[in-house]
Amino acid sequence: MAIIIDDKTRVVVQGATGKQGSFHLKQMLAYGSNVVAGTSASKAGQSVEGVPVYDNVFAAAEAEQPNASIIFIPAQGAKAAAFEAIEAGIKTVVIITEHIPVHDAMEIMALAEIKGATIIGPNTFGIISPGKCKMGIMPNSIYLPGKTGIVARSGTLSYEIVYNLTAAGMGQSTVVGLGGDRVPGLSFIDLLQRFEADPETENVVLVGEIGGNAEEEAAEYIKTMRKPVVAFLAGKSAPPGKRMGHAGAIIERGKGTFESKVKALAAAGAKVASLPWEVPELLSGGSV
């Protein structure tokens, strides 16, 4: 098992011939991901690391039957790239691209909902089911197959957590980056539900940060979960952020602070780590 991607995932890389796309295509292949196709408007017919490059996702889909796409297209073309993947029938789309206008992100999410596609990102490090498939830009070396599901808002911080888990001999079932943008495709709850349902996952780490009320909402769901959850949150020392008018205040209603999140998660039964390297100990049932 694992969630969302596994050894049956057939990956198409959109923007496979660009600097980032070709670099990470190679890294994904090196990790063992089943990358079956790339796309490039100008370099169709070529290949990258032995992976055939097609004009677009439709052509790639016809020839190679991918079921997941990863997008390395610059922000100005990213909406079209995501639409293309969705219209071509791809059901799992990982958008690495950052700096996508938030209105574009809303349009992508609206279309994905209509067409039943799952979007990971934008501005995500991606998703990895260790030992099975990696779709993302995370370093290959730090993951270990195992039983802990990890969901994070921030990429590098998740690497830190994984690094500590792996060092402690605790493997991961799937590690997912929600993406750092304002409108991500999936929420903490979406992932917690999947981890709760996944027979291979025994416990879950939630890596959050200040701002928004996603962690507080996740806490509501954690109350109902059977599997243990450990949380780590960043931003304790950050100065108060700028708020988005009255409307922002009305939506957040006092949520969004470090204290509010810690309180909600602890009340829901999650253990909250103060330092990243405390996570393995807390997962093992210990305290710090």
């Binding site: 279309l111 921030s154 690497y159 100065p239 988005m244 008018g245 990243p276």
Partner: protein, 373 residues
């Protein structure tokens, strides 16, 4: 990017949303001239912050002389951290009712949300939920007139006022979408006799969309020079009041690095998220920004993903060779191309660590701060 009130109102006018008659002025003389043309006026400081009224940035004047006096008393003062150099002189309007109307992005629902209330004006965020009318807008459908009429009805409006309010909602949504806004807000939306008009307005434009809407909206700048310089490099940089400069890659890890540093007794001099995938040159420039702030030491925490450790190492080597680095540097470096990065650093006489704990303990030791443990 936040817009000044007068800029927001220019956009409102472009979209057919009524606003009071007004003039943008920069001196008491211009304020008097505007008042001669308009009559009784309100003189409003133009700053990129709310709460102007309570801070004394909004004053009324019945005569041109009063307008000049009021302008004189506001111009050049410091309001909420901004020096006032621009005023909006507007007709004084009769206020029968103050409504609140905003459209922003509901992250949880991944869609626009309209928020409104029949009890607008100050302290709107203190209102209880039952005083608010909220509705997510389906981006595929948009805010259709029938839905706007329903929302006006829910606000308790009737007749011509309901009709005007609903039309303003539709226009505001159009502006929100076409100008890539993160927030459009009218507070208060005033009922004055039988007309409805926007007495104050806030607009935030999505910075990421400036490449396509930039030419059609006015521009403002509220960042410091150093922050702008960093932003031009794709780097988030915020000055803080400590003495240890910090660089990390990714907002989350940067925040966590500050948290850990503070946990161990260190005081960060700044927040610097060098971003993902920065190459050699941008990283070198980011380091130069850190050096320019004269810290006691520099703490770098790089977990390479899209960022490659060898690029980071090359950047540091380059700065050390060309500019020189005269303060202690503590680097934590792991991830993509880690071995190559560590090797390059070593060749250039820079030590690196594999855990953030070691790195933070080291930098705290160097700067002489007492550790917690």
């Amino acid at each position: 990017m936040k817009l000044f009130e007068f800029m927001a109102k220019e956009l409102f006018s472009q979209y057919g949303i009524p606003v009071p008659r007004g003039k943008v002025v920069k001196s008491p003389e211009e304020a008097a001239a505007a008042s001669r043309e308009i009559g009784a006026v309100v003189v409003k400081s133009q700053i990129l912050s709310g709460g102007r009224g309570k801070a004394g940035g909004i004053k009324f004047a019945d005569t041109p002389q009063e307008a000049a006096d009021m302008a004189q008393s506001i111009l050049g003062t410091d309001l909420k951290g901004f020096v006032v150099d621009t005023l909006l002189v507007e007709e004084k309007i009769k206020i029968d009712q103050e409504l609140y109307l905003a459209i922003t992005i509901d992250k949880a629902n991944r869609s626009p949300i309209l928020i409104s209330s029949a009890s607008g004006g100050m302290d709107i965020e203190e209102l209880s939920e039952d005083k608010l009318v909220k509705r997510n807008i389906d981006v595929g459908i948009g805010l259709q007139p029938y839905l706007a009429r329903e929302l006006a009805r829910k606000l308790g409006l009737t007749g011509g006022v309901a009709q005007q309010a609903s039309e303003i909602m539709v226009k505001l949504y159009k502006l929100f979408r076409e100008k890539d806004a993160e927030l459009v807000e009218i507070n208060p939306l005033v009922v004055s006799g039988d007309t409805v008009l926007a007495a104050d307005g806030k607009i935030n434009i999505d910075d990421e969309a400036l490449y396509r809407v930039g030419d059609s909206v006015p521009h403002t700048e509220e960042r410091t020079e150093l922050e702008q310089k960093a932003a031009a490099l794709g780097i988030s940089y915020v000055q803080l009041d400590g003495d240890i400069a910090v660089m990390a890659n990714g907002a989350g890890i940067t925040m966590a690095t500050l948290d850990i540093l503070q946990y161990y007794g260190g005081r960060p001099a700044n927040f610097m998220d060098a971003g993902g995938g920065a190459g050699v040159e941008p990283t070198a420039k980011a380091l130069e920004i850190l050096l320019a702030s004269n810290p006691k030491a520099i703490l770098v925490n790089i977990f390479g993903g899209i960022t490659r450790c060898d690029d980071v190492a090359k950047a540091f080597a380059q700065v050390k060779q060309t500019r020189g680095i005269d303060v202690p540097m503590v680097i934590r470096l792991v991830g993509t191309n880690q071995e190559e990065g560590v090797r390059i650093l070593k060749e250039n006489g820079i030590d690196s660590y594999r855990t953030i704990k070691e790195a933070v303990e080291k930098v705290v030791e160097i700067t002489g701060t007492k550790a917690v443990e």
